[in-house]
Symmetry: C2
Subunit: 114 residues, 2 copies
């Protein structure tokens, strides 16, 4: 927990808030951020014990938000599957840092007219 | 109210927290920060509707913390009274700004090992 202005903050909660993610979207992002592999939605569903539709909605959102990469694998039996992987962890941290800085600037602006 | 990491902050609450003041100490500081005059504890007690002993404890703390100035006025009848005035509002803002920056640095340090 991090103390900020006499309130307690959990780092994960702050990142989730900055990125505007739901609980399951953030769980998924966090899981992928700790791995260096690509996963199918099936695998993610098993690993995270979340139903497949939740995983599918979540990876869609993370992909749209440019937080994960998606690669298409064509199957010999026909059709294809998608594999998901964290995109750029350093970039995610950069976004969080920039947002934190902006928030503090808001404080300082308000403080200047105190 | 200021939004920071999905929590709401009141600017006064943040300043009170940074300076480590109690509710009545902060009320007193805020009152003095809005005036350009010197006040006796008697006057402060009336203005803020706080009993004299609370005012006396509060000005003592604010004076020790270097937030208010105290000047001594000798009375013709003998004895003396103290007058209190806000010290340097810009300096208070500087302290708050620096503390906010330090808090954010703590976040960023923790984030770097995320």
């Amino acid at each position: 927990m991090i103390d900020f202005a006499c309130k307690k903050f959990d780092l994960d909660e702050v990142i989730k808030c900055v990125l505007g993610l739901s609980k399951s979207e953030f769980r998924l992002l966090k899981f992928l951020s700790e791995q260096d592999t690509r996963f199918t939605t099936e695998e993610l569903s098993k690993k995270l014990k979340l139903d497949k539709s939740t995983i599918q909605r979540s990876v869609k959102k993370l992909h749209e938000r440019n937080l994960v990469t998606r690669s298409q694998i064509n199957q010999t039996v026909g059709g294809y599957i998608f594999l998901y992987k964290i995109k750029n962890k350093e970039n995610i941290k950069k976004i969080v840092n920039e947002t934190l800085d902006n928030w503090v600037r808001t404080f300082e602006k308000r403080l200047s007219s105190w």
